[in-house]
Assembly symmetry: C2
Homo-oligomer: 213 residues x 2
């Protein structure tokens, strides 16, 4: 039987029999088909900082322009993964999310991941996983005080009451990015509209060549 | 701030604060954009039965017709996931693969998963995870003897020598599907060409409406 794929033998940890299948259709060919460059848009920030709202609006704006995009977040990732995962297991969702986002970007999709992802080393690990310039970090630069006032899911209240342990900003640290691609800020102390936030990201994508083959 | 998404509160195991984000762009809208129906094509069979070869050729044929498709297999899934995973951890890759394939199909992509996946209950669990008719099980109906003669990665030899434990077909069972969508068989005792096998799947997709919006 004619074997259509090139097998590139690699050594991964203890396993030497794992091979990476270089499929006959590659990233560039998918890029040309979709007329866009697959990438990971990683939105980080406190709970309540507007990550999901931005992700959702960005997805809509990209779709309306004919681009193939998809949103991953801690919530839809946990569905089906492991029904016993507690909210504390956000870090496990983040771990899976990295791999999934990488695969989506490789498939040519503009993949938006929206997770608190409080630790710099974890975000950097994700950046290291995808090829250069396929990782776009977006920081929701909203002060904790503002997020806590909003508290859309009532989680800060639970965390303050000690009913959720290890909650970012309350009894667990958040490390803001030092040098990320995009910073979303408040305007006159207030949240920008979802449309304005999404446009800031779309403009970045456009100016950096992601929205063409 | 205007919240653009509908939050559907669900109870998942012990966690009641997990919400499923119903993004404003839904599956149907993605289907219309891509002019295809996202689905999971799950190829199961012995090591050496031609799963990866079929997946690769199928991917090429779909791409050439302008369809957005992607191949997941035990090998590329393990890359980046956990460098210490041994070959025995095929089942863990399978576990992750289910969730990833479901997300890809939801994103509108025709996602081909190629894994040995020897247990019926695990394949059924995957089928249960995606909505009706989005799961297409393909059985590589190749006798063990033929696969072992081919032994493209030299794994049967290692398993026979006791150097790999729990190897499907040697010291671990394979449960063939009872009622799957597609069966790929030998022709006159020989492997079909990759082209012929892929065409059988493409014909199924076409006849069942997956290749249009």
């Amino acid at each position: 039987m004619q074997v259509m794929e090139n097998l590139v033998r690699t050594t991964v940890g203890m396993s030497t029999n794992i091979v990476w299948h270089e499929c006959s259709i590659g990233k560039l060919e998918r890029q040309n088909l979709l007329m866009q460059k697959g990438c990971v848009i990683w939105i980080t920030g406190f709970s309540g900082s507007g990550k999901s709202t931005l992700a959702s609006m960005l997805n809509r704006q990209l779709h309306c322009r004919g681009h193939v995009s998809y949103v991953l977040d801690g919530d839809n990732l946990r569905h089906g993964l492991n029904k016993d995962l507690s909210f504390k297991a956000e870090d496990r969702a983040e771990n899976i999310c990295r791999v999934v986002a990488k695969l989506f970007a490789d498939a040519g999709v503009i993949c938006t991941a929206s997770l608190i992802s409080p630790y710099r080393r974890d975000r950097d690990a994700c950046r290291a996983l995808v090829p250069d310039s396929m990782f776009i970090e977006v920081f929701m630069d909203v002060p904790l005080k503002v997020c806590e006032e909003r508290d859309p899911k009532g989680l800060y209240k639970l965390a303050r009451a000690g009913k959720i342990k290890g909650f970012t900003g309350i009894d667990d640290p958040y490390e803001p990015p030092m040098d990320c691609e995009i910073v979303i800020q408040l305007k006159d102390g207030k949240y920008q509209t979802p449309k304005a936030m999404a446009e800031q990201v779309v403009t970045y994508l456009e100016e950096n060549g992601y929205l063409k083959a």
